[in-house]
């Protein structure tokens, strides 16, 4: 992806982020920028602070130091209530597993964010159905997460993250528990969907083949950005 000259304002920017977890310093002065429509991979060994960085940028935890600016707002200063709303409307999250509610059907899981935003259930169901179809899990709407394969469950999770039309999708090792074929299906589905909608993605992974789906890679070493590799 090329920018047509100048330095465009990033959609999301973290600057000099520091965060402690108990006695371990998970982040020490990490900075990065995410632009509109960009897929950015954050790689690094386990314990390098990748997940903590994602949590800070997504407004899930507050950094001890540094700032997070999303669309002109300081996320690190927003009250929890507004952050919660923002995460629901502007952000989508996908984790390695566990984000689907085990008791709800695939369709209800995808419809949930819409229902939380006040959409009527029938309408939410219809939209959820469309997204499940896009992710190739048509025919499994009535199954529950325990009855889906790992790859199917992650595609349902992606549908759930994208159904509200978020500006940014935060994906923390979305394929961490999948085999290579399922990984390819999930990543291809993600790339196609976000390219169409112009959604930005912050993709945390330790797998170079998954990072290769991104436009750009940022490597974390010991809680700081080591190198930025542009396409």
């Amino acid at each position: 992806m090329s920018n047509n000259g100048g330095t465009p304002v990033p959609l999301l920017a973290g600057r000099d982020l520091a965060r402690k977890h108990g006695r371990t310093q998970a982040l020490r002065g990490a900075s990065l920028e995410l632009h509109t429509g960009e897929i950015l991979a954050v790689t690094g060994t386990s314990g390098s602070g990748k997940s903590t960085l994602l949590h800070c940028l997504a407004g899930i935890v507050r950094p001890d130091q540094g700032s997070v600016v999303y669309a002109g707002q300081r996320l690190d200063q927003l009250p929890e209530k507004r952050l919660s709303v923002l995460r629901r409307t502007d952000f989508g999250v996908v984790f390695q597993f566990g984000q689907l509610i085990p008791e709800l059907t695939a369709q209800d899981n995808v419809a949930l964010p819409l229902m939380l935003a006040g959409t009527a259930r029938t309408q939410a169901h219809a939209r959820a159905g469309e997204w499940l179809e896009r992710f190739g899990v048509r025919g499994q709407e009535e199954l529950r997460p325990g009855e889906l394969s790992g790859g199917q469950a992650q595609r349902v999770a992606l549908a759930r993250a994208l159904v509200t039309g978020p500006k940014v999708v935060f994906a923390d090792e979305p394929t961490g528990a999948l085999d290579s074929l399922a990984t390819e299906q999930v990543m291809t589905a993600l790339v196609h969907a976000v390219r169409e909608s112009g959604t930005s993605v912050l993709l945390i992974t330790h797998d170079a083949q998954v990072a290769a789906y991104a436009d750009r890679e940022v490597r974390l070493i010991d809680g700081a950005v080591a190198a930025e590799v542009a396409a």
Binding site: A208, Q209, A211, A212, Y213, A214, D215, A227, V229
Partner: protein
């Protein structure tokens, strides 16, 4: 990687029916999208060797409106040689020819910066992997394209993993190389 046998690939393409050199080249490049494209010269010399060894023979000529072209077809010997080759296992990495490792060692010997080299190499690898991934995720990519890109991606990924563990153990390696 095992060196490709152009002879056998051409024999394989001829197995579907008689064909001329230009057509064989075109079909090869189509079938193996991410491989190095065949040169015309290579196609013709290989075909002549196949005829010399009795594995293929000239069927006739075909002008088809344009310049006259020689059409080749496979012989019985050719098809039995092909099935022998296709069933033969490829020797798993008979020689380790690792240019990256050689450069790391030379860099240590000459007091260079092997760490910086590995980082730069990693960047180049990642860039190539992104290119290949873009090729395979393109909307119109067919399965052959996806599979050949995957093959390259997996090899590059293996290199990357090796580079990551090597970078983490450079101090020990430097001590070992310097001591020897």
């Amino acid at each position: 990687m095992v060196p490709m046998s152009t002879r056998h690939i051409l024999l394989g393409l001829l197995a579907t029916g008689p064909s001329h050199g230009y057509d064989l080249k075109r079909r090869h490049d189509e079938r193996f999208p991410q491989a190095r494209p065949l040169a015309y010269g290579q196609v013709y010399t290989t075909l002549q060797r196949l005829v010399r060894d009795g594995l293929a023979e000239v069927e006739g000529t075909d002008s088809d409106g344009g310049p006259e072209r020689t059409v080749y077809r496979s012989t019985d010997d050719g098809s039995s040689e092909l099935s022998r080759w296709a069933g033969e296992i490829a020797p798993p990495a008979p020689f380790v020819t690792n240019e990256i490792f050689a450069k790391v060692v030379v860099s240590i010997l000459s007091n260079g910066d092997p760490d910086a080299y590995l980082r730069a190499q990693r960047t180049a690898h990642m860039e190539r992997m992104r290119e290949l991934t873009a090729v395979k995720t393109a909307k119109d990519a067919d399965l052959a394209t996806v599979l050949s890109a995957d093959y390259a991606l997996n090899h590059l990924d293996a290199d990357l993993r090796w580079m990551t563990t090597t970078a983490a153990r450079l101090t020990t390696l430097t001590a070992e190389v310097d001591a020897a």
